[in-house]
């Protein structure tokens, strides 16, 4: 059985071969995405959702906390970025920071209500709070523009002091986001193998025992919830930059469900790479199936149902089994590694 908590042989490294390959694929994408029949902007979307998914899986897969309302923080990030550009000043870093902080604060507030809960109560409360944010976005039209949302959000340049890059083209924007994805992937990889990350996984496996060996379980739940909301906020900020607009749909229940589906289908419950696979699979399904039939979401949904029924470990679990005959990717003694 593969589990998320298997110790990788490279659990001490910053850059594993997988991360290197992933970075290469990401950075070379603009060169081959056209020739294989897709287009630049899908790369932007995939990269944004990967950030969202990696943060979400810290909570969902690693800590075992099933939030069904995380679209809210994507939305808060999107609005915060937009409001910053429109009312404070056109600034990339300012906007992204605002997105991360606003979503973090929203997440922290919700987390203080849910971090003492578990199971179905936890899940229901995350939905309820998610709906609250959505409702707020629709109703507070003097801030959010109501149903129409915020329009004409400028795309700021990337200003590095000595030089600055124009991000109005999708390829330039893609490179910015891909760079962020690589940095975030490395940090997430370190985090899940760090003491903090292993404690999160211990909480997933056995919350009672975790408290009996001295851990303030609620505190870890609170922190990881807030953290995942911050990831979502960053993704949301980038999304409103990409779309040049922010609207209530971004934080709808639909988005909250989508991220859960992506992570599950990809195999986020058993593998670090699961969320990334899930995001890629979803967008390819949307564009490839979507070109064939308008009911593509139905087919994707059926695939989700089939996956949950027959292969709950998801795509990553499936791939892990394919290479099973060779050596399982668990760790051996430190002595043998040197």
């Amino acid at each position: 059985m593969v589990t998320l908590s298997d110790i990788s042989r490279r659990s001490g490294q910053w850059i594993t071969p997988q991360i290197a390959v992933f970075a290469l694929v990401l950075l070379s994408l603009p060169f081959w995405i056209g020739p294989i029949g897709l287009y630049q902007y899908i790369g932007v979307e995939i990269a944004i959702w990967i950030i969202f998914a990696l943060g979400f899986n810290l909570l969902f897969g690693y800590t075992g906390l099933h939030s069904f309302g995380h679209g809210a923080y994507l939305g808060v990030g999107a609005y915060a970025f937009g409001l910053f550009q429109l009312h404070v000043g056109v600034s990339l870093f300012g906007g992204l920071l605002a997105a991360i902080l606003a979503a973090g604060v929203a997440g922290a507030v919700v987390a203080s209500f849910v971090s003492h809960r578990r199971g179905i109560y936890f899940a229901l409360m995350t939905i309820a709070f998610g709906q609250l944010f959505w409702f707020g976005a629709v109703k507070m039209h003097w801030i959010t523009g109501g149903e129409d949302g915020l329009l004409n959000i400028p795309r700021p340049d990337l200003n590095l002091g000595v030089t600055s890059f124009d991000l109005s083209g999708n390829t330039a924007l893609y490179y910015l986001i891909a760079t962020l994805v690589i940095v975030i992937t490395i940090l997430t990889w370190r985090a899940v193998n760090s003491p903090f990350g292993r404690i999160l996984q211990a909480i997933r496996q056995n919350e009672v025992r975790a408290s009996f060996i001295g851990y303030e379980v609620w505190w870890f739940k609170w922190v990881v919830f807030t953290l995942s909301a911050m990831f979502a906020g960053l993704a949301g900020g980038l999304f409103s930059m990409a779309q040049e607009s922010a609207y209530p749909d971004v934080m709808s229940l639909h988005q909250s469900g989508l991220i859960v589906m992506m992570v599950l289908v990809g195999g986020g419950l058993v593998n670090f790479w699961g969320p990334i696979l899930g995001v890629v699979l979803y967008f390819i399904a949307r564009d490839v199936l979507g070109a064939i039939t308008e009911t593509w979401l139905l087919w994707y949904g059926l695939m989700f149902v089939a996956m949950v029924m027959f292969k709950p470990e998801g795509l990553a679990g499936f791939l892990a089994e394919l290479k099973r005959p060779s050596e399982p990717e668990t760790w051996t003694k430190p002595a043998e590694e040197q």
Binding site: N193, S194, P195, G197, R198, I199, Q205, I213, Y215, F220
Partner: protein
């Protein structure tokens, strides 16, 4: 003064009273046994003493500090450790990770988000020491689920010891163990008695009489008898259940 003292513990669930009035005290360095029939309230008593349940009445004092009603993680960090009657491990984790998670040295690093765990010499050294104590060397990188039943019991105790506690509560450590594994456990507890104060609930009379300095018998939510193994030999309830165990 005793290292750990429970005074007049009363515990009810709704209208059903499980612990009537329990007073126990455990002296530093002793092995304390707790026996009694099934459903007497022994596990519930442990749950109260270690913070899992809040007693409805009564007080609990550990090393001079009142710990009544404190949450389990606080009590654990003060040096009170326990194992569980039902196996209670981190099942996706390998053997050594179960131990590492419980090390105070590891707990101190709880906020580290980029450092690595399984290459850390300090943590590994301490974990190997605990594994050696409970006889699990050589199986450290196995998934804990793949261990034999007896070894899982040993790991259960290992996790409790890894916390470097002053007092260890063991809930029926021999339950489900064969003759050979029980003999191993006797040896282990003989080794541990110099380092820790031990309190154990136990069904196996012979095991308990061999190891314990003090024994308390709990029945109907009350302590019905208390004393050294010798003193208890003459207790009616003990005799009756000892006969039952032999037959």
């Amino acid at each position: 003064m005793a290292l750990f003292e429970a005074r007049n513990i009363h515990k009810r669930f709704g209208s059903s009273v499980v612990l009537e009035d329990i007073s126990l005290s455990f002296e530093e360095g002793q092995v304390n046994g707790i026996m009694g029939p099934n459903g007497a309230g022994k596990t519930t008593c442990f749950h109260c003493l270690t913070g899992h349940y809040k007693p409805s009445r009564g007080s609990i004092v550990f090393d001079g500090t009142d710990i009544t009603g404190k949450p389990p993680q606080r009590i654990a960090r003060m040096g009170v450790s326990r194992s569980f009657q039902m196996m209670n491990l981190f099942d996706d984790a390998c053997v050594i990770e179960n131990i590492i998670l419980a090390l105070p040295e590891f707990r101190r690093r709880y906020a580290q988000v980029t450092s690595s765990v399984f290459n850390d010499k300090v943590l590994l050294t301490q974990a190997y020491e605990v594994l050696d104590q409970v006889g699990l060397l050589g199986q450290e990188w196995q998934p804990s689920l793949s261990l034999s039943y007896g070894n899982r019991r040993a790991l259960e105790i290992g996790v409790a010891l890894a916390a470097n506690p002053r007092i260890v509560f063991l809930d029926e450590p021999t339950s489900g163990l064969g003759v050979e594994a029980t003999r191993q456990l006797v040896k282990l507890i003989q080794k541990l008695r110099d380092r820790y104060t031990i309190v154990m609930i136990e069904h196996d009379m012979r095991f308990l009489f061999e190891l314990a300095d003090q024994i308390s018998v709990i029945h109907w939510g009350q302590v019905i008898a208390q004393g050294t193994p010798d003193e208890l030999q003459s207790n009616k309830w003990v005799q009756r259940s000892a006969l039952g165990a032999v037959a």
